[in-house]
Symmetry: C2
Subunit: 210 residues, 2 copies
């Protein structure tokens, strides 16, 4: 009945294990899609027995939910770092490239972020018919729009963008553009190269600045 503190290393191990299982899950999803991310396939990929995976995740659904939260966190960390980098830049002249870099973090410009985008699209589309995934999917959606909104508002306040912009419309427009680029890069990677994506993003930002 005593719910006191236990041996320390155990807890750490548990967290590491959960992370390892999630990484295995991500590899399966990237390679074969969410529908193939069964407990069996994930356990195999992680080099564990199916029962071991279930020790850390009570159900298949819980594993998926946890994995999507993990993805959420990774994106959030990268965004937060980008925002801080912009805040640290004093003069407005330096901010342009930093804004482009921040928004570029949402695009699959390198192999890691490509994989991340693949997993993002897989989970977020799965969330349409899986209620347990919807909260995370919604947070990701809103998070991107919040970042984009802040960036635009900040640029206006610095005089980098005209003050008469309809920020609600511009936020949705830029967010949809980023989503669209990521989606096409995931679905047709041969046709949507990093160069194309950066050119499109740069053009969009330049045009916003008139």
């Amino acid at each position: 009945m005593h719910v006191l503190k236990r041996g320390v290393p155990r807890v750490v191990d548990a967290e590491v294990r959960r992370r390892a299982v999630v990484d295995a899950l991500f590899r399966v999803v990237r390679r074969e899609g969410v529908e193939q991310a069964s407990l069996r396939n994930v356990a195999d990929e992680a080099g564990l027995a199916i029962g071991s995976v279930r020790h850390y995740f009570d159900s298949h659904d819980e594993l998926l939910v946890f994995a999507l939260r993990e993805l959420e966190e990774r994106v959030e960390v990268r965004m937060r770092a980008g925002v801080e980098r912009i805040s640290a830049a004093g003069t407005s002249g330096e901010r342009g490239p930093l804004v482009e870099a921040l928004l570029g973090e949402l695009l699959p410009l390198d192999a890691d972020r490509h994989d991340e985008s693949v997993i993002w699209l897989a989970f977020v589309t799965a969330a349409r018919t899986r209620p347990s995934l919807r909260p995370s999917a919604l947070r990701l959606h809103q998070g991107v729009r919040m970042i984009v909104g802040k960036v635009l508002a900040g640029a206006v306040s610095y005089g980098a963008l005209p003050a008469d912009l309809d920020l609600d419309v511009e936020r949705e427009r830029l967010a949809a553009l980023l989503d669209g680029l990521a989606v096409t890069a995931v679905l047709q990677p041969d046709l949507t190269t990093p160069e194309v994506m950066t050119a499109v993003l740069r053009r969009h930002l330049a045009e916003l600045a008139r």
Copy 2:
């Protein structure tokens, strides 16, 4: 050995039946996602026995491929009609709204096109890991970009858009915007209303025209 013409009505019936099965498939996909579109579920939805469905489609995969081709055709028909409407409009003054309407055909602005977009996204993401669906997915991708490219080039030639536009970049930008709007409308329909989508599209076209 005689491969001659058979009784006429049979062929018609067969085509009608295949269409009915595909419609049932679309309803299942819309409601529960591609992963639930098993032969059993589709047969139930169509009110047929599983064996009957298999009489028209030799395999599950063939059914999916046929269904995606059907979707391809529907989109193509609507696009062709829109293009003709633009070609029929003589003066350049009338073309603006027609262009907006044509590109709007690619957005889920009403219930029917919303369903169509849901199915589009489901199939096209499934195509990432299903080789048999890739050709259709690629054609849809290229088709949209061809239409968008023609529209932009036409607008330039009519003087409605500045001649110094980088059409390759603008084509990808507008196509990604349309894809992104459709995706977010499918995944977060409550947050991405038809009004938002039309406002974003209108704004983009207006800005292109400088």
